[in-house]
Each structure stands twice: as C-alpha cells, then as structure tokens.
Amino acid sequence: MSADKTSTGGREAGQRSGAFDVRIVIGVLLGIYGIVLVVTGLVDTSEAELAKSDGMNINLWAGAGMVVAALVFIVWARLRPLLIPVDYARDEPESGPPTH
C-alpha cells in the first residue's frame, strides 16, 4: 500500500523517521557515555578511586558494556529500519517476539 505513494516521498519519510528513530538516539547517547567512561577508566586508575569501587574498575567495565549496548541499538536500527506507514491500516511487521 505504501507503494501507492511516490517512492521519493516514502523514502524521505523513512529517512526522517531514521533521524528520530529512538534506537539511534539511545545508541548515540549510550555510545558517548561508554567512550567517556572507558577513557576515564583507563586514565584515572588512582588507588583511591579503585579502592572506592572495591578494586573493580567499574568505569572501564560499565563503559565497555554501554559501548556494546550502543552498537546493538545502532546495528538493530540499521538492519530493521523504521518506516512510517503511509496507510494506518497497514501495520509494520514487528521485530519478532519481545526480547528481555
């Protein structure tokens, strides 16, 4: 049904929703957080900081985790881009069963 509309219009709408795709927004924010934390974890390894977090370099580990999560969101958004349905009745197939 979306093919009824001109393809450029459809693609533009798709791209626009791409910029607003919440997965991209989450991915970019978590990515920046992750990188900042990893750098902080590598640079600031003073004894005092490590002792505070019980000998674990929490910045490094949490930062790495966030970078991985960010990549998952961005890859997911790339693989299954969000399209704005031109017709309400035609609904977007959902991305599989809920994962949790």
């Binding site: 924010l29 974890g41 949790h100």
Partner: protein, 562 residues
C-alpha cells in the same frame, strides 16, 4: 569515606567536571529532541506517526517508564533498605497481575468503547457530578505526587551542592518550570524510552558493584540480621501485621488487588500510553510487554537498597536504633561506591526521572484543570487560546503548589508509606466505581459520585484512626502502622464504595440503556472488540499467550525468592 563519615552533614556527592559533562550531555539530548519536535511543525505529524508505528516493545517500555520515576527508584530502594525482599510484592504482586489484567480484560473494552481517558469515561457513564469529583481528586493527587518528585529532586541538588533543602526545593521548582517551558514534554515518549535506558545504565553497574562488595547474594544473606528480609513472603513487617495469614491477605487483597488494580487500570498516564497504540492487539500488548522488564526492575532498585542498609554506616547505625532516613539509601550507596564517571551517569539517571516525573504530574494537572474543570464548569465557551492561557498560569500554580506539598513529603521517613497512602485515598475508590459501573448497567449517576466521595472519605478516616499515617494527627485507635494502613484503607475504601454505590443505586434512577452502549460490558457488542488490522498477526503476538508467559515467569520468581 573517612572524610565523609567525619563531616556532620554526612551525605555529599562529590561530582567533578566529567560528571557534570555527562549530566549536561543528557539534557542537550532531551532539549534537542524537544527542539526538533517543535521546530519541524510540518514534520510533527511524521514525528508522531512514527511514534505510533513503533514496535510494541517501545510502547511497552514507555508504559513502564512513565511509572519508573523518582518515586519508584528512590521509594523502592528505601523500602528495600527498610523491609528487604518483601518489597518485591510491589512488582510481582502489586504490578504484574494488574498490568496483565489491563491488557487481557480491560484494554479491549477501553479501546473498543473509544473512551480516551478516565475522566471521559466518568463523564459519559455517570454524567457531570462524578466527572467533577474525579477531576478534582485527580488534580489534587497530581499536586501531591508532584511534591514528592520535587522533594527528591531537591534532595539531589542538596547533596550535590550542599544548599539547604528549602532553597533546593525552590531552585528545583524553577529548573522544572524551565524544563517544561523549553519543550521537554513535546517528545514525551522518546524521552521516556531514553530515560529508561539511562536508568538501567546507571543502576545495573551499581547493583553488580554493590553485590561484589558484599560478597554476592550469599554474603548479603549473612549480613542481614533478620532472615525474614531475605524472603518475599509472608512480609509481616511490610504489611505491619503480626499474623502471617493476615499479612498475606493484606498483601494479596489490599496491595495486589485494590491498590494495584486501582492504580494500573485507571491511571490516566499509563492507560493513555496503551490507548495511543495502532490497533486493538497492539494496545493490549503494550502493558503485557511492559510486564517483562517490569518484573526485573526490583533487582536493580531493591537489592541496592538492601545492600545500602548493611554497608552504609549511617544506615546500619540508623537501622539498629530505628532512626534511619531510608529515602537516601540509594544516594548513600552511589556516594560510597561510584567513582567519577559512573557517578555522573547515576546522577543523570536520577535527575532525568525526577524531572520527567514532576513534569508529567504538572502537565496532567494542567490538562485536567484547564479542560475538565475550568472549561466544563467555571468559564465556558471561550476561544481555545483562552484555555491555553489558563493552562500556562496553571503550570506556575501547580509548581508553587508542589513546593508546598514537597514539605509534606519531607515529613515521611519512608516515602512509599506516603505514596501508598495517597493511592488508597484516590485510586482504590476510583477502581471500585469504575469496575462496578463497567459491569453493572443499573448503577446510577448519583451512585457514581456518592460512591467515590464515600470511598475516599473512608480511606482518609482509616489513615486518621491509624497510629502514624498522618504523623501526630493520627489518633491511634486502630493498631495499624506502616504500609498496612494503606492496604487496609484501600480495602475499606473499595468495600464502602461498592456498598454505598449499591444502596444509592437502589434509591435513584438509572440512565436509559441506550446511553450506555459501549460503556457497560453487557450492552457492548462483542464484535466491537475485534480489530481487522490484527488479522495478519503471528501466533506469538497474541496478547493472551504473552500474558500467560509473563504470569508463569512471575510465579517462578515468587518461588525462587519466596
């Protein structure tokens, strides 16, 4: 840590440049989303369309994120610090069954009958008096809850900058006002989803680190002196009953049935998330999918609270001599464990949820006050711009009101006690009236509002007669304290509301059946529950199947931690 313990104002978060940068970055994102949403007026349709075409996992997360506010995070960790594992009842008994019930039983009805909000249902089912009572009680509840959010926000400002609480409250109020004005609400659903992940990014590492510190689950069990705090049932201390049987009844009926069904099935904000879905089944799936992350949230809020109670010196001391202020449990833990970097992420998560929570309360108050009260009953038939103006003034009024209620909130050493109290006043009677009105066609308009008023009055009376619900104003005739007051109050409000509605109905005139089609279950044709847009869906998308899986999982969790 030594320095922190030595200082007499014991709690002070030492944020540095990196932390502030991470906090600032988040708000750049939030304001950026709001700005893009607002600037692209011709695009705004696309913007919201794409919102409606989002997969159900996003609306499901927005559904629980609207609820994962300050109160849940700080309140549940405080509750965990005070009562331990029984706090999980707020999730596994007090939320999941009601969310599944909403998705399976009530959503078809809401969606099929095209009622968009709870006040609207009241207006159509019972007419103006019930609508007015509902609108006023909702508006009052929003201001009281906004006060809790504001108080928590002020606590953060206080521990970061060291300003006294009254100054922090006013400053926090100004911050929230500008946040609302700058368009932080235009993209509410996006911010809610974003906020959910920032909160997880903050709390998950904190929980793992804290568990590492106490030596895992085993280590925590060894350090908690009261073994009852390590298992969920029977939860005597939480419910405030000496008898285990009464405690289980109180939790299952008071919390699990009346309070939680009242909250989850009639709450304006949450129900509307599901109402905005693209089809009948999508709307039913929204709360059901939300139930999956919801059942794991207790692990990252309650467990940190429990660990805080054993490793934070101030809380351990306070728990021993009964003077602990549990509301800050999570802040103590963050302060003691997180280094620069993670500290910034944690503060961001907390700030984000407090501001979004208060902004949601203020805007819900605005909408209901301007349209449901002012336009319908006070100044009618003015152009739309006039009511927008009223709304703007009300934003300021609501914020000033919240400053007042923040001081009420500050009187409670456990904010969950207070919040559940409010729910017993407002949500429990509403649920009774709602469910009776939905299934009993004879119930009259007069019974609608009289029942609500009687129910609320009952819950307030129970709180007044208890030992501590109103602090020194409570007279102590009933041997109830803690959250047991709200469980009993909610149960009593429910029963009284039903009884009063029943007897008033017998004495007054019902509405003609023709006006109740689509509003009362027995008068609504079943075909209106079927949505042709759902015909192409796969078997695994069936709401009842998903709900069954969620229910099975939550039962398993209850056995594992029971």
């Amino acid at each position: 840590m030594l320095a922190a313990a030595a200082a007499d104002s014991s709690l002070r978060l030492d944020a540095s440049g990196v932390d502030y940068a991470l906090i600032a970055l988040y708000f750049v994102f939030v304001l950026g989303i709001g700005y893009m949403a607002r600037r692209a007026i011709s695009n705004s349709l696309d913007f919201f369309l794409s919102g409606r075409s989002l997969p159900a996992w996003i609306t499901g997360i927005a559904f629980i994120s609207a609820n994962l506010g300050a109160i849940e995070i700080m309140g549940m960790s405080a509750n965990g610090a005070q009562y331990g594992m029984p706090t999980v009842h707020y999730f596994w008994v007090g939320a999941i069954p009601a969310m599944l019930f909403l998705g399976v039983v009530m959503m078809p009805f809401y969606y099929g009958s095209k009622v968009r909000s709870v006040p609207e249902f009241m207006l159509r089912r019972f007419g103006p008096p019930a609508h007015l009572v509902n609108a006023i009680s909702f508006a009052v509840a929003q201001i009281l809850i906004a006060g809790i959010n504001l108080f928590l926000l002020a606590t953060i400002v206080n521990v970061m900058l060291g300003w006294p609480i009254p100054v922090s409250v006013v400053v926090a109020a100004v911050i929230v006002l500008s946040y609302i004005t700058l368009g932080g609400l235009s993209a509410a659903i996006y911010n809610e989803v974003l906020q959910f992940f920032v909160i997880v990014a903050a709390l998950l590492p904190l929980t793992l680190l804290a568990l590492h510190r106490v030596g895992g689950w085993q280590g925590l069990s060894e350090r908690i002196s009261d073994p009852e705090q390590m298992t969920a049932w029977p939860g005597n201390e939480l419910a405030g009953f000496d008898s285990s049987i009464l405690s289980v009844i109180g939790i299952v009926f008071g919390l699990g049935f009346v309070l939680s069904f009242g909250y989850w099935t009639t709450n304006f904000v949450e129900v509307q998330r599901a109402m905005a879905s693209k089809s009948m089944n999508a709307s039913r799936r929204t709360p059901i999918i939300g139930a999956f992350p919801k059942m794991f949230v207790p692990f990252i809020v309650i467990i940190p609270g429990m660990i805080a109670a054993v490793i934070v010196p101030e809380l351990r001391q306070g728990k021993a001599d009964g003077t602990a202020d549990y509301n800050n449990a999570l802040l103590y833990l963050i302060n003691d464990l997180l280094p620069t970097g993670m500290l910034g992420v944690a503060i961001t998560g907390l700030l984000a949820s407090f501001m979004a929570g208060m902004a949601a309360n203020v805007s819900a108050f605005n909408t209901v006050f301007s349209y449901d009260i002012w336009q319908d009953y006070i100044v009618k038939d003015r152009p739309d711009g006039y009511y927008l103006g009223v709304g703007r003034i009300m934003t300021v009024v609501a914020t000033v009101g919240a400053i007042g209620t923040a001081f009420i909130a500050s009187q409670y050493s456990n904010l969950m006690d207070y919040l559940q109290q409010l729910f017993s006043f407002f949500n429990a009677p509403l649920f009774a009236t709602f469910i009776l009105g939905m299934f009993w066609k004879r119930m009259t308009p007069t019974a609608g509002w009289v029942g609500l008023v009687a129910g609320t009055a009952t819950a307030v009376t129970v709180a007044f007669l208890s030992e501590d619900a109103f602090g020194s104003f409570s007279v102590g005739v009933l041997p109830l304290s803690g959250q047991g007051v709200s469980f009993v109050g909610a149960g009593a409000a429910f029963v009284v509301d039903i009884l009063v509605s029943y007897f008033v109905t017998l004495a007054t005139r019902p509405k003609p059946e023709s006006q109740l089609v689509g509003l009362v279950y027995s008068l609504t044709p079943k075909e209106s529950f079927h949505d042709p847009r759902d015909d192409r869906e796969s078997w695994y998308q069936r709401p009842t199947l998903l709900a069954g899986i969620a229910l099975a999982m939550v039962i398993v969790l209850n056995f594992m931690f029971g």
